[in-house]
Symmetry: C2
Subunit: 797 residues, 2 copies
């Protein structure tokens, strides 16, 4: 390294190289060693782990980045976070955190000495130890990277509303092939250099994914540069395999990139330049498994896909490989890196920034430590006045929009709403009275509610919306994603991974709770009659309920007031994923606010005003969950009241779906006694459900009355038609519910046959009307539930 000392007048690259060698040594040691961590004695088979698990290939490149980022942090006193796209390079993340001391601060038994190093090595990918990836257990990480594609979106999410933060994000060239990552490059069109921080993407081309080369590593360099320029970036290339040259090149390059960022921010923040800047990014091309075994058994490993995981596969049984492993590990000269006690030598420790400036100690990466509760207005102030149950109509999300308008205004840098261009479509436009949509593309005079800074982010990519919001939440802020119900399946996998992150985080006391990830699903299955079959899918609820109960909540508020109460609770929650399904069309508001609050607090309850059982001993229970099923159920109850006035009908509405589960399965679960009191143990229960009907069976199969439960829901019947035709197609309509009651309540006898026929005829009549007129019979669409007459529509709120 001679000749590089004193680079740029501020730093010694020799010491930086020593840090790099130390982190490479620690990375390899975690993968291989059970004992003899400092190689004080010759390596023997019993020092080697019996199962070799982990990914070496990406680790030296990640270590290289980390070491060089340390340098610029120290030099410029930067507040920087590190997002590691190739999260399977877990050994690297752990090695760096141990080197800079964070690891031992959080896990004192893994001390920064020989004894701790032995534990560090043993625990990695070991039963009872730590995961092989950059998991929640890893200090400094908000991104596990097990499922690839989201690193850059997470990085931008972290940078929004964090003007003092720079997020360095290594994007692996495997990950770069994914769709979400390919779209994420455009995130720079949504970053405000004034109010937001900076993101420095480092595209790490090590050339291979698992067993194949990568696309971006095998296109001509000019194409790659065009691609990055096309994405709006200013790319810098760092390419090679000679450490000395590479250190100089990387240091020079990062200095230039950080100069660019400083200049961009300064110009923007001084008001001098409002054009969208070409943010820098780095293309780093290094061999896969750099500094590892070059050849094994005569076959090239370094620089090929064979270095992806374990370059030497059998050192425990093959003496030649054992010798090669020892030579490899000794090539880092551990005796120069660690002192007699196994403590990293002072010149290495000095490479690290101090305290919270260490990337693995960044408070942003343990966002709960920074979490400030939202300043929430009183949701009661936005209530729809309901003089009589259901007598007034309102669009639930429209009402919520008014509330969110004030949430936005009261939490300027702490709350964002993400959505794939559906905020207006989902009737939340009131928020635009107090904020704008972020837009750093060209602005035209005809544009509305677009600005360089705003709290609403809209891009036609559910992946970006979700990824940004995850990054925003995990760094200690709050938010909401609103999207069409059917298309939230696009982020099923991202939901799964975020839920898993929360599940694992909850077991780590040092990880402080972060704000809940809240989904507002509108434009739902029953109100996509106009867009047709592709837009009709309520199955996200099934996906959500597969995760551990303690991290998920599903709410189906039946009207505007219950939506307000539910939303307030969800915005206050932490370490959860909440799903709220709510309609956007005008619909009856069933409950005055005080009743709505009580009902939501209970999560499930009898609606006495719609029931005819006098509070005891019903003949049949009509249960419902979801706004449209509730409307049909109340209508069915009224039909029964009219035509079978002797029948004792109980209407039960479910807001909090988890209440249906046994308390052993979910903390919200009703006790069996409570469940039985509501649903009875022996009476027929006709359950009108928002989603796929079997979900209700799955939640209730252990309940006493389950054999009497008959669920109607979406059974995958749909097309472009009218709203009432949609419910008829799926036998969820009021007339069919009455028929279900007739079919299931014993002892009604022949006297109900005419009524049953009448209901069937009503269905035929409605269908015929619809097919003739192209719209629903006003009797069912503009129906007033109290009068039962279309000529007395409910009032608008």
């Amino acid at each position: 390294m001679s000749g590089l000392d004193g680079f740029d007048g501020t730093d010694g690259l020799d010491a930086l190289d020593a840090w790099w060698r130390a982190s490479n040594y620690l990375s390899a040691g975690q993968i291989y060693l059970l004992g003899n961590p400092l190689l004080r004695e010759p390596l023997r088979p019993e020092h080697i782990k019996p199962r070799l698990l982990g990914h070496w290939g990406t680790s030296p490149g990640l270590n290289f980045c980390y070491a060089h980022l340390n340098r610029v942090i120290r030099k410029r006193d930067l507040d920087m976070m590190f997002v590691m796209g190739p999260g399977h390079g877990g050994p690297s993340a752990v090695a760096s955190a141990w080197l800079d001391g964070t690891y031992s601060e959080i896990y004192p038994h893994v001390s920064q000495d020989e004894r701790g190093m032995a534990r560090l090595f043993r625990q990695f990918s070991f039963p009872g130890g730590i995961p092989s990836h950059a998991a929640p257990e890893t200090p400094g990480s908000i991104h596990e990277g097990g499922e690839l594609g989201y690193s850059l979106a997470h990085a931008y999410g972290a940078a929004f509303d964090n003007p003092g933060l720079t997020v360095a994000c290594v994007v692996g060239d495997g990950e770069a092939e994914t769709g979400p990552l390919a779209a994420s490059w455009h995130s720079n069109k949504f970053l405000d250099p004034v109010g937001d921080g900076a993101v420095l993407p480092i595209l790490h081309l090590n050339g291979y994914k698992i067993a194949n080369p990568t696309v971006l590593a095998r296109i001509p360099e000019q194409e790659l540069i065009s691609l990055m320029e096309g994405y709006g970036h200013r790319p810098y290339l760092v390419s090679g395999d000679d450490p000395a040259l590479m250190h100089r090149l990387m240091a020079e390059t990062l200095d230039r990139a950080m100069d660019d960022i400083a200049r961009i921010q300064e110009e923007a923040r001084s008001g001098g330049n409002s054009a969208r800047p070409a943010w820098p990014m780095v293309i780093l091309r290094t061999p896969k498994g750099w500094t590892g075994p070059r050849k094994v058994g005569g076959v090239l490993v370094e620089g090929t896909w064979r270095a992806h995981q374990i370059p030497l596969k059998a050192p425990r049984t093959e003496p030649e490989e054992l010798a090669q492993l020892e030579a490899w590990l000794r090539s880092y000269r551990p005796e120069e890196l660690f002192d007699e006690q196994g403590v990293p030598r002072p010149e290495i420790l000095e490479q690290s920034p101090r305290g919270a400036r260490r990337m693995s100690a960044s408070p942003h990466a343990n966002g709960g430590t920074l979490l400030r509760p939202l300043d929430l207005p009183d949701f009661r102030d936005y209530a729809v006045a309901v003089p009589e149950h259901g007598e007034v109509q309102a669009g639930a999300t429209t009402v919520l929009g008014g509330y969110l308008r004030e949430v936005v205004a009261a939490n300027r840098t702490n709350f964002r709403i993400m959505g794939p261009d559906e905020t207006a479509s989902n009737r939340l436009s009131a928020v635009f009275e107090r904020t704008d949509r972020v837009w750093r593309g060209e602005l035209l005079p005809t544009d509305e509610h677009l600005a360089e800074h705003g709290q609403v982010m809209e891009v036609l990519s559910e992946h970006l919306c979700q990824g940004w919001l995850e990054g925003y939440l995990l760094t200690g802020r709050h938010g909401l994603i609103n999207t069409y119900e059917a298309f939230v399946h696009i982020v099923d996998a991202m939901f799964n991974q975020h839920a898993k992150w929360l599940e694992a985080s909850r077991e780590l006391p040092w990880r402080r709770p972060v704000a809940a990830l809240n989904y507002l699903l509108s434009s739902h299955v029953w109100r996509q009659d106009h867009n047709g079959f592709t837009h009709q899918d309520p199955g996200f609820l099934d996906v959500v309920l597969n995760k551990r109960p303690e991290v998920v909540g599903v709410y189906l508020p039946p009207d505007a007031n219950t939506l307000l109460a539910v939303a307030d609770g969800c915005l206050r929650a932490t370490d959860l994923v909440n799903v709220i399904v709510a309609g956007k069309q005008e619909a009856p508001v069933w409950l005055p606010m005080d009743e709505a609050i009580t009902h939501c607090a209970r999560g499930v309850g009898v609606w006495e005003w719609a029931s005819t059982d006098g509070g005891t001993d019903p003949d049949v229970v009509l249960a419902c969950a979801g706004d449209v099923p509730t409307l049909e159920t109340v209508a069915a109850a009224r039909l029964l009241q009219k035509y079978l006035p002797d029948l004792r009908v109980r209407v039960v509405n479910v807001v909090d779906l988890m209440r249906l589960q046994p308390p052993s399965e979910h903390p919200h679960g009703l006790s069996d006694a409570e469940f039985d009191a509501l649903f009875t143990t022996d009476k027929p229960v006709i359950f009108a459900f928002h989603g796929y009907p079997w979900l209700v069976h799955r939640l209730t199969y252990r309940r006493h009355g389950h054999d009497n439960l008959h669920v109607r829901g979406y059974k995958e019947k749909g097309t472009t038609t009218t709203p009432f035709d949609m419910v008829m197609l799926n036998d969820l309509d009021r007339f069919h519910l009455v028929m279900d009651v007739i079919d299931r309540v014993p002892g009604l006898g022949g006297r109900v046959a005419p009524l049953r026929q009448r209901m069937a005829d009503e269905r035929l009549r409605c269908r015929a009307y619809t097919r003739e007129h192209g719209e629903d019979d006003p009797m069912v669409s503009g129906w007033n539930y109290r009068s039962g007459r279309p000529d007395r529509p409910s009032r608008r709120a």
Copy 2:
């Protein structure tokens, strides 16, 4: 249009413009008109549909593309398909198909005259009519586009192994923001100009999505060009709003692009050039809602987001809007376009190619008409010889790989395997003995099994794999996608949409059945102990089983021989989505091939050789589905045989998960009598299941013995650990299954308490062993199920 006649010596753009005006008229007519289709009388409110549903904004641009593509098809006698990314422009697709006669051929009641036009208009987005999108009902479509992002992947899938085909693909600028589409541009690195056809992407910038501008429409033109060049394309720009100029520009541009394609193919096919070509693509910039109302109520509509759906919202009630609508419709001069009978005039009809050259009549877009059955080898030839049940070990997917090798070889242009770089990881490498992975990036000497043409396609994007395969299947070929079980959730939404396509297609007699979409999920939840929690998720099965039963199948073959039998069946299937979950590690082969065939044909059956009930009257049923649960169940049965020899144990294995459902729910469903005969109605059933346990409850809740059913499965407990620790974490291990039996079989009395304790102790011992040694006790990992001893491991096949 004067001065443009005779453009390029071959065609008249006047007539082309007339076609365009006709298709625009027909598009608007579908959205608005209930009657008076030819405007023979002044427009009156009753001529207007009561609900205005549909998307005008994108339609004129789509019509423009279709008209111009017709021109180049005729000029060059091209075999061309049209993929419409903005599938919500359904009016455009339907209008074009009606104009070229295909629509009336398929739907004779919608004849190509005034009467048919009236029906065409009425049926659109009307109850009992047709969907608003380019759905299966639409001739010429393989792509609905309800969920955006997959058009370009579908187009490439259609082009693979179709060297004579050119696929024109309009990509909307909204769709272009999605991740899957952003990644799809790189598909050109996987297209072979010799063996594959061509794709001509047309990026249609109309500037807006629903309520926002689009990213690609608002970046500087130079950035956009760089982006497309970076993606490896040669971009051509066509921009403007003057129809006359635009016609000339588009015609010239398409001529150049088609020349490029012809030259690229000729050079490659004559062996003159093997470099990856820069395929042409077109950037078409036109106003949203082009030729529609420019302003409504003083507000600009044309060229803004307000033109997205319905530009005039209330012509039925607002006289001014009615007049504006009439003026708009008359601006196309329908009297010049259609004759007295409403038949398009001859000069318009002449614009259309003939017969199967019409894009809406392309046989590729009704792929079932081209479907050739696979030439399948006899899977019995690949069977593992099993002298005694479970005595031999083999990796299931490794064995399948041998079979697939011959499938590949026997079906060179009719079968592809897609996967996100996991074909080797999933142990299917035998296929590389007969084919290669397609790779049009740079090739290095160290590369293996990469070639310019091949039947295996690997890219680290599940979206691309799925999209390519869908396009390939929908155009009449066969294939398989192999991927990690946890990450198949990435394409949940794409699966949903494909299943919906099949559900709708099955109701259309003219759509011929296409080959099944087959998923091979390996590296499954129980064998991702090394990668950790993020890689452990069996929930795709829950997603799949939400779709209509007639289009989905789920198979859990317990060993290599049953996998062969299942795979053979799945490769022969049509109009289905089949999911096969199979392990890749060495594991017992339980069944000789003849028994495997019988077992798979039945889908579920008693394994007498593992049972001790003598075929009648068991005390307990041990049921299992999935390879790892089967191993644990057989081991548990053997433990019970050893320690409780009097207990009558029946082992039931389930291969075909749909057999559990009632026959009313799924065509594979067992009758209640069959179910009861297998599972009994009154004995405890301990069910060891591959996935989330509640899925089994959901499938069986109506069965007589359901209350006695106790399911073990994955309950979201995982980390980086050992395989046996994974099953222990979820109480699915053999010891816990024995404890479950003890806890649930009545009358065993106190004599079993020591055995229960012994089982609990075994679990503790195994966990301690694992934590000490870092690997599983050979007693459970290398366990021979017959001897029960680790020193007699089963033989390798």
